[in-house]
Symmetry: C2
Subunit: 201 residues, 2 copies
DNA sequence: GTCTATATTTGGATAGAC
DNA sequence: GTCTATCCAAATATAGAC
């Protein structure tokens, strides 16, 4: 009689190779641009022929999709590592800083996750799930500050998106816009946290 | 003896065709995405073979470059049409509104002009000239408001870039972020225009 | 000025041997 | 699981006829 081992060594090996391909894909797009990903180049990087990649991913599109999910999961992981005990406003600032750091440390990843720039690419519902969780974790932090209106939440995301976009497209690697963040968050809280101002709840 | 006519009808015709090709290129990328521009498709749109386009533009890159200059010239033209007599803060708001309208009315153009997303594309110095003028006109409007520091100017551009980016990538065609603009500009002026606050000059 | 013809390269993807 | 072989399509660009 045949027995079924508890560990599937084959499956583990496959998963490891998939991971390796994904990492190589990130390296490639970081070096050449998001749209410059090709199966040939990617194969070369992992020491395979392009055709062999199809044993791990059904298509190039599937690779972008895996990258989209991967990036969002990474961001979510970091958000979960934030201290829970900080006071509410400090926590919002930590979320903001986390987002900015995440954006500027890898502009191409930011482009894939938050800018709609790849013609024809649409993340699959499965890959989109962690992206929704990311969004929700930010909203929860704002709610804990008493900021509940859609407008006020949208203003916060716009502010951060603007800093990230300006920094990455005008001075990649620098801090010219990054260092404005605290000042702009002061300004934001002065306007949107004041309990008496209209439109905050 | 041969005489030289004052009008060069041939050159005029060529310029008109170049313009026609440029317009078709804009249509194409608006429909298919910035990176989806191909000489074949473009040729089809203007009723030519792809090869014939090379009589008007030396390369596909040259077409992107002409589009970059074209978009910036259009923005500059609109900025010059702004009323000169408005009070300084109103004028800054008009610049902001102009920018936002310009961004959302054609997200692909915004992508080409303000986001660095085309692998390998770098505008030529000539095409970059109008882009510099665009920037300078915004800075002049802020200066007229007493806003002179780099920080304060950068904060304003970040704020607008954020609204434009959020609107175009999360709700293209909508107004969810656009309608926050006035409120955020109020907030901005309250912080950066106050003569006594630090960092405004 | 536009065409046909063609060179050349590149890229996604499949079939089947080992 | 990776390879060779190959296909097919698409894309940029040049040469030369009309």
């Amino acid at each position: 009689m045949s027995v079924t081992p508890v560990r599937d060594r084959r499956a583990e090996r496959t998963a490891a190779t998939r991971r390796e391909i994904l990492d190589a894909a990130w390296e490639l797009v970081r070096a050449e641009g998001l749209a410059a990903l090709t199966m040939r180049d990617l194969g070369t990087r992992v020491g395979m022929r392009a055709q062999s990649l199809y044993g791990y991913y059904a298509s190039k599109h599937a690779i972008y999709d895996a990258m989209f999910a991967d990036g969002n999961r990474e961001l979510l992981r970091r958000k979960r590592d934030l201290p829970e005990s900080a006071d509410p406003e400090q926590l919002v600032r930590l979320h903001g800083r986390l987002f900015l750091d995440f954006a500027v440390e890898d502009p191409v990843r930011y482009q894939l996750l938050f800018q709609r720039t790849l013609p024809g690419f649409e993340p699959s519902p499965e890959s989109y799930t962690p992206a929704v969780e990311v969004l929700e974790s930010g909203r929860a932090a704002l709610r804990a500050c008493g900021i509940r209106s859609q407008r006020a939440m949208d203003a916060f995301t716009a502010l951060n998106a603007g800093l990230a976009a300006q920094q990455t497209s005008n001075e990649p690697g620098g801090t010219r816009w990054l260092r404005l963040a605290d000042e702009m968050w002061d300004m934001y809280f002065a306007r949107y946290r004041a309990p008496t101002s209209k439109g905050t709840r």
